[in-house]
């Protein structure tokens, strides 16, 4: 019984704080007209059963507009994603775990130049991903991972550009701490 409790505590992670290297991929406005700058994310476990965790989180990323022709004469694009997700931890070797995850989020694209705002697009986002963590001490772990994010923000435009603005793909590298 005591061993089960130790095992549960070892498997459980409560909080994650991480840095995001945002990166648009594919044929869409993030990939073709923006460059990823940086991002930050955090998530909190709501409930866990053995290795399965249910969490909520928030992720924020900044891009610089590199092609004014396609993205408008605007300085920055910002991504916000409030998400709920399931994570499953798989022990690999001593101190090292693999965590797979799938999140569903409320995704918002904002564009801004200094003080000026250029409206927003909102829609759902689906993010499968994984990370590998290394136990430093006690519950403290460091991790690095890869997330693929498919976002479908509402877009009203000519049919040939609907997918370009309304189907966004990101492949983000994440690294941070969890405990």
């Amino acid at each position: 019984m005591a061993q089960d409790t130790v095992q549960k505590k070892t498997n459980t992670e409560y909080f994650r704080l991480y840095y995001v290297f945002p990166n648009g991929i594919g044929n869409n406005v993030l990939a073709k007209a923006n460059n990823g700058v940086a991002g930050i994310g955090l998530s909190v476990t709501l409930y866990s059963i053995n290795r399965l965790h249910f969490a909520i989180g928030y992720e924020f990323s900044q891009y610089n507009v590199t092609n004014a022709s396609l993205a408008g004469n605007i300085k920055n694009t910002y991504i916000n994603n409030f998400y709920f997700g399931a994570l499953y931890k798989i022990p690999i070797v001593n101190r090292v775990d693999l965590t797979t995850k799938l999140t569903v989020g409320a995704f918002t694209v904002n564009q801004k130049s200094d003080g000026a705002k250029y409206g927003k697009q909102q829609g759902p986002a689906f993010t499968p991903g994984f990370d590998v963590d290394f136990k430093i001490t006690g519950h403290l772990r460091i991790f690095a991972g890869l997330d693929y994010c498919l976002a479908l923000p509402a877009t009203h435009t000519a049919s040939e550009y609907k997918s370009f603005f309304g189907t966004l793909h990101q492949l983000n590298i994440t690294t941070g701490i969890k405990f």
Partner: protein, 250 residues
């Protein structure tokens, strides 16, 4: 990003007033803070209101008067709501003279297209003429797109000076006049039917009754004008290879 014409930065004003308040009596402080917040709210309401989920597409091609594409010509979309203005679309023509600007919809604005036309921070090609397409109404944007098709510019070394003397032969005065053709820094209505619509900016007051233009050589220029009874007229002016003075009787 290319320079904006105007944008309001009320935050810096707010901070500067708040700092100065540190050295003021309390009543003055309250007054200034109230004034400051009022100003901030006023200015924040003066910005342009964009709809980020709606993307407009402006595209077209720039050629010389012989139909040859001109690369690297600056094209911009200018929006103005009377309080603030912005260059929201921007591109330079590619090797085939094509341009494409996709930008979020701006609500309640007047929209113009600048082609090799100067604005703050612009980088125009001084070898070619520039022009502005005005009066682009949102209602005329079909399927979120306007294809401006082909716009012709002319080389500035292929130009002559045109002087128009306005000669009154009636009791009516001219309230709007525009030469249409290959004209340096010309303003063209996107919808020609709107030419007869005159606003305050179009009011023509020239005490000398003379107008000066730089126009391309060897063309048949049309001078369109509106009289004070709102009747629209036009005359054809043949331009040759030399500077020209034309007497326009109205």
């Amino acid at each position: 990003m290319y320079s904006k014409i105007i944008y309001y930065n009320s935050l810096s004003n707010l901070l500067s007033v708040l700092v100065s308040c540190l050295y003021q009596p309390i009543t003055t402080i309250m007054y200034k803070i109230t004034l400051c917040l009022l100003m901030a709210s006023l200015f924040s309401g003066c910005g342009i209101d964009y709809e980020g989920s709606t993307k407009y597409i402006f595209k077209g091609q720039i050629t010389d008067r012989n139909g040859q594409p001109i690369p690297d010509i600056e094209v911009a979309t200018f929006v103005d709501n009377g309080h603030a203005s912005d260059i929201i679309g921007y591109d330079r023509t590619d090797g085939n003279g094509n341009y494409l600007m996709i930008f979020p919809k701006a609500r309640n604005v007047e929209t113009s297209l600048y082609i090799n036309h100067e604005f703050y921070g612009s980088n125009t090609n001084s070898n070619y003429s520039g022009m502005e397409v005005v009066g682009i109404e949102q209602e005329s944007i079909e399927n979120y797109t306007i294809n401006f098709s082909i716009t012709k510019l002319f080389r500035n070394d292929d130009a002559v000076n045109l002087r128009i003397n306005l000669v009154s032969i009636s009791n009516r005065s001219i309230i709007k006049i525009r030469p249409l053709g290959l004209v340096q820094y010309s303003e063209i209505e996107y919808d020609p039917d709107f030419f007869g619509t005159v606003d305050n900016e179009d009011q023509y007051f020239d005490p000398d009754n003379r107008l000066y233009y730089v126009v391309a050589k060897n063309q048949d220029l049309v001078i369109k004008y509106v009289l004070q009874d709102n009747t629209v007229h036009d005359v054809h002016v043949p331009v040759g290879a030399e500077d020209l003075t034309y007497n326009l009787e109205y």
